[in-house]
Each structure stands twice: as C-alpha cells, then as structure tokens.
C-alpha cells in the first residue's frame, strides 16, 4: 500500500488545470527555457500568490504546475519522505487541481517535487526534479544587497565565497556548511542547490534528470540541465566530503543512505532510519533488515 501509485483522480473543474492560468504557466515555461539555457543562472519570474503560504513550497509548486501534463505521474517528498504533512498537502493539491496520478515510488514518477532531499535511487533521463527553494541567492548571507550580488554573478566574482569557506576552516578546522552547500554549475555560476544536505550534492553532478529550482517568495527560478557538471566548492587541501554515519538504518539496514536520528526515550537513546521513505520501504520489500 505504502508505495502504490494512485490512479488519476477526478479533477476539480472549478480551477484551471494545475491551478495556474495558461498565460502564467507559459510565462513560467519561458523562464524555465532561459534557465536551462544558462545553467545555474537565477531567472526572475512573475511569481504568483499561491493558496499555500510562502516558504511552504510555492516556488516549486509553480514550476510543477507549469510543466505538469495530464499523463504525468507526480511524487512529492519533504525531508525525503512522502508522508510528511507538507508533502501530503502538496500532493493532494495537484491531485485535486490537475487530476494527475501520484506515486510514492521514485522510479515510477515523471516529476518529483522535493523539499530538502534528492532521492537515494538514481534518477533517469525521463524524470524531472523540482526543488523548493527558500533563498535562491548563494551569496545572500555574505552580501545582503541584490544589486551587489547580481553584479558579483555577472563578473564571476566569487572570491568572498571562498574567503567565507576559508574562514570556516581557520575557525573550526572544517567547512561549517552542512546543507545548502554552494556548487558551481557548468564551471560558471555559483548556485544554491536548495537546503539539501551536502550528502546529496554529488547526485546533482552529471545527472540524467532535468533539475528545476523554484523560489516563490524571491521570485527566481533556475535549472541544471541533464548531464551538466555540478561541483561543490572546496579547496585542494580541504576536498569536499559528504556526511557518513557510524550506524545503519534500523529498518532496512542501509549503510549508504542519509539517516535521520530518532531519540527513543528520556535517556536519549538514539536510533537511525533512512530519510528517504521509498528507498527504505523498497529495501524492506526486498528482504533487507535492520537488526
């Protein structure tokens, strides 16, 4: 039941297909074409007010609405899981307004809208990832002014970013960024990969799937086309490294996936489980076991 694909439900005819009007969707698709043509470049777009709050995935939802077709199969995850409340809410929204089939199975989805994770299972060339982005500007916390950061991108002036990473190493001995770890796309633009853990960064590199990023509040969208070089910023003597766990998933026993930590009792006993609920469930089905 958990991983079943839900057949196409009836569409709520009170709204246009996928909620947004066709002109708006066309405007967004034009922006997406530009974004694909200039990998990693933030394209301003006329973001609309969605019936969900800003910060809850309105950017991702607008992109999904713009590219969704009647035959698509949609998967929505939040923190890697399909059953977190906001993922449920967004999936329901499109089931209602677009009447599309939805799934929890990664390989069966044609469009995957996600918040904070990239699925563990490799993606294929006929899939599109849509990321929900809170802060599209990777330089924002170094330089708050948009007029300045735009110029820095135009001039390929990313020195401050390397200085920030260097200062981390000088202060802490490590680069102190664990998620939303900045990347360089196609050897040109520095891009915020959205708040995915840096564990997921390598999955962006040369991925066969199209990656689309939507920031509703900030009204920016950007893209990583299939098979594009995406490298995480680092130094020769401090190469980029992903997180590793000393534990296995308590449910499926995986030692390769991103694990969420659970606290089981008042003594603080820890347990670790996969953040990607579909990956974990499939492994259990295949007979893998935690203990």
């Amino acid at each position: 039941m958990n991983a079943a694909t839900q057949p196409r439900p009836g569409r709520d005819e009170a709204y246009n297909f996928a909620y947004l009007d066709e002109q708006t969707k066309r405007m967004i698709r034009r922006g997406l074409l530009k974004a694909v043509a200039i990998p990693g470049y933030q394209v301003p777009f006329g973001g609309r007010e969605m019936p969900l709050p800003y910060g809850w995935g309105t950017g991702g939802m607008q992109l999904t609405a713009a590219i969704l077709g009647a035959d698509d199969v949609l998967k929505v995850t939040d923190q890697g899981a399909d059953d977190t409340t906001n993922a449920v809410s967004i999936r329901r929204f499109f089931a209602r307004t677009a009447g599309v089939a939805t799934t929890e199975r990664t390989p069966e989805a044609t469009i995957i809208q996600t918040r904070h994770r990239i699925p563990e299972m490799p993606l294929s060339a006929d899939q599109i990832m849509v990321y929900q982005v809170p802060n599209p500007e990777p330089l924002r916390f170094i330089e708050p002014l948009e007029t300045e950061t735009r110029t820095m991108h135009a001039l390929n002036d990313y020195g401050v970013m390397h200085v920030k990473l260097y200062e981390d190493i000088a202060t802490f001995g490590h680069i102190a960024t664990a998620y939303a770890y900045p990347v360089t796309v196609n050897d040109r633009y520095v891009m915020d990969p959205s708040p995915i853990p840096k564990f997921d960064n390598p999955k962006l590199d040369m991925s066969p799937a199209l990656m689309l990023f939507g920031a509703g509040r900030e009204k920016r969208l950007y893209a990583v086309p299939p098979y594009t070089r995406v490298s995480s910023l680092d130094f020769e003597d401090h190469p980029f490294q992903v997180q590793k766990w000393e534990h296995n998933c308590a449910i499926c026993g995986s030692h390769e996936s991103f694990l969420d930590e659970l606290i089981l009792d008042d003594q603080g006993t820890q347990s670790f489980v996969c953040s990607d609920s579909d990956y974990c469930a499939q492994r259990v089905l295949q007979g893998e076991n935690g203990q």
Partner: protein, 363 residues
C-alpha cells in the same frame, strides 16, 4: 519497532475540522454574518482590502470570518483569490481632488479652502472602555444632515505647488509595472515602490515611519493633508474611446510635506511623501507616506544610513504574506538539515575531548 511520527492525511483532515470548530466557537451564540463584519468592522475590512490589494468589502469580510479574525491570514486569503482573477484593464488615475470627503485635515495651515472636517475618527476620543457597548441594543447615532453641501476641496499640497514651494510630481507617462505580475527588480522605480508599500504591512510601515521620526533617516514631516472619502473609478475601454465610471471606492490619502532640498542651482523646495490605502486606513496611509519619502533619499542625494531609507531592506520585508509564510515555514520539518548540522557540530567538537555535560553533572 519505532515508527517515526509523521503527519498523514487523516491528521490534516482532523486539524481542519478542529479549526472549523474553533472558528465557530459556542454554537449557542448566533453565528457572525459576513454582512455584520462588513458593516460593523469596517476598519478591519479596510485593512484586509488594502493589504490584500483587492477592493471588495464583501470578500474581505468573508476572509475575516474565515480567518477567525486573524487579519494577516485574511489578507492572505484575499490575495490568493485575487491571483486567480483576470485583468481586464487598468483604470485611469483616480482624481482625489474631486472626491466626496468624509474626513479631511491639514496640519500645515489653520484654514484651507474647503475647510477641515474631523469626520469619523478616534482622535480626541478618551480611550475609556465604553461599558454601554456590552449591552446590546440599538445605537441611535447622530443624525447627519441630508445632502450637506460639499465645497470643492483642492488638495493642500497643490496650493504649495502653485507657489513653487514644493517639488512638482510629474507623470512621466511611462508604462507602470505591476509588481504582482512582474518580479520586483532593484533599484525599483517609485511606482513600483508605492505599489509594494500599498500592499505592505501596516505595522511594519508604522514602525519604519516612526523610526524616521526618531532620527533613523530623519526628514522632518508635516501632515500636509489627510483626506478620506469616496472617489470615482474610471476606465477607458479601447473599443469605446471615452472614459466611463465603473463605481466609487472609499480611500484614505495622505500627503506629507517634508524638509526642503535645494542647491546652488535650484531654490529650496519642500518635498513630499505619499500614502494611499483603501477604505478608512489613516495609520497605514501615514506610515506609507513617511516611508515613501525616506525611500526617496537617493533621489534627493541624502545620505542613506537607516533601514527606512534602504529600498531593498524595506521592499523585501514589508509584505506580511511573504513574511508570515517564511517565518511560519519554520514549523515544517527540518529533520534533514538539522541532522546535517548535528553531524557537523559533533565533528567540530571531536578535537575537544572534554567530559560531556551529563558526566559533569553526574547524571
């Protein structure tokens, strides 16, 4: 085996039901009607229409009812509805010199053509709780003379402009951007700034305007004129070729007279800040006018040192639907990011192999 607590569809449905119950309250008390809200909470309706940027009293009242009185939530509801509406045309500029006034005051002149009119205002009321309102009953209200004659009221700042004492505001005739359809890009034009401020949160603009009075970007304002009343809205459909009135709306307009500018080549002139809001919304219009003027710092070659003068700071943060959304998103799960931070902080702490806090306290 432990199952991670994650909300399911059932939890969401149940939460919505509990919310509906909370909104309705005790069912032995009569349900609040939308028309009651519209008639008896007109200032709340005005705020929701202004910041929701949609002039529709009934829908604003409905939003207030649905939001259980949470005005920011009601503004959000109205905005989300507004997005779905088609744009037929832009109206002609409204002529506030020609409006039917219910309130008008100027703090700059003792008497002005058309006079001053207090109208419905909380000003000069003593803020004493009126316990007679606890008892329900008909309030007779004052009898207004029917068809009281209204003199034409030219705008006060127009009188200053005639003498050349205040900077002329000229319509450049440029196409005006719609910030709800095109993304705001910096630096923003004054028209874009005014649109953003008109939709901006009353409390935020009030506080920022207040900050300019306390020295953070001081530019010495006078309330040149505040006028509240009804104004006709005209459109000129292409196929007609002449303008037609489509109705009247109540608005509040505030023009602040601010400190003068001048140079070796230009005689000194006052400057102005402008505020406009739907309905009776004086506090909003005044805050907006103060912030509009402070955002013109660059235009008047003033030193930009304070938040109220920085357009990226003001415009990016004045929208309460955006702000409320992004603050409230902190309630969404962040397990993955937090797990990443946990892993990092444990790694950073490894070189310091001191006793753990629990060992220190001996627990």
């Amino acid at each position: 085996m432990y199952v991670a607590v994650k909300g399911g569809e059932q939890a969401i449905d149940n939460a919505h039901k509990v919310l509906a119950k909370k909104r309705r309250g005790d069912t032995s008390i009569a349900e609040l009607g939308v028309e009651q809200i519209r008639q008896q909470l007109p200032l709340a309706v005005a705020r929701v229409m202004t910041e929701g940027s949609l002039y529709d009293e009934q829908l604003a009242a409905l939003a207030i009812k649905q939001a259980a009185g949470d005005l920011v939530e009601a503004i959000f509801l109205l905005r989300a509805y507004r997005t779905t509406l088609p744009r037929f045309t832009a109206s002609l500029p409204i002529d506030t010199g020609d409006m039917l006034l219910s309130r008008r005051l100027s703090a700059t002149f003792k008497d002005v053509p058309g006079g001053q009119l207090l109208g419905p205002t909380f000003d000069y009321t003593h803020r004493l709780l009126d316990f007679s309102l606890l008892a329900e009953g008909e309030y007779p209200g004052p009898q207004l003379p029917e068809k009281a004659a209204l003199e034409p009221c030219p705008r006060v700042l127009g009188l200053l402009a005639k003498e050349g004492l205040i900077k002329q505001e000229a319509d450049t005739g440029e196409a005006i951007a719609d910030i709800t359809r095109e993304p705001l890009e910096y630096p923003a034009s004054r028209a874009q700034r005014l649109q953003a401020l008109a939709r901006g949160d009353e409390g935020f603009l009030l506080a920022l305007g207040y900050s300019t009075q306390r020295g953070y970007g001081r530019n010495h304002p006078f309330a040149g004129e505040i006028r509240i009343g009804e104004v006709d809205v005209w459109i000129e459909p292409e196929e007609l070729g002449f303008p037609i009135a489509i109705g009247a709306i109540e608005i509040t307009e505030c023009e602040m007279v601010n400190q003068f500018v001048g140079s070796a080549s230009e005689p000194a002139q006052f400057t102005r800040g402008y505020g406009l809001a739907f309905g009776h919304a004086e506090r909003k219009a005044m805050g907006m006018a103060l912030v509009d003027r402070s955002l013109r710092a660059e235009e008047y070659a003033e030193e930009i040192m304070s938040p109220a003068q920085q357009q990226e700071f003001v415009l990016a943060h004045c929208d309460n639907v955006e702000a409320a959304g992004f603050v409230s998103h902190l309630k969404l799960p962040h397990y993955v990011d937090f797990q990443s931070e946990l892993e990092l902080i444990r790694k950073l702490r490894k070189p310091f192999k001191g006793p753990t806090p629990s060992q220190e306290t001996g627990q």
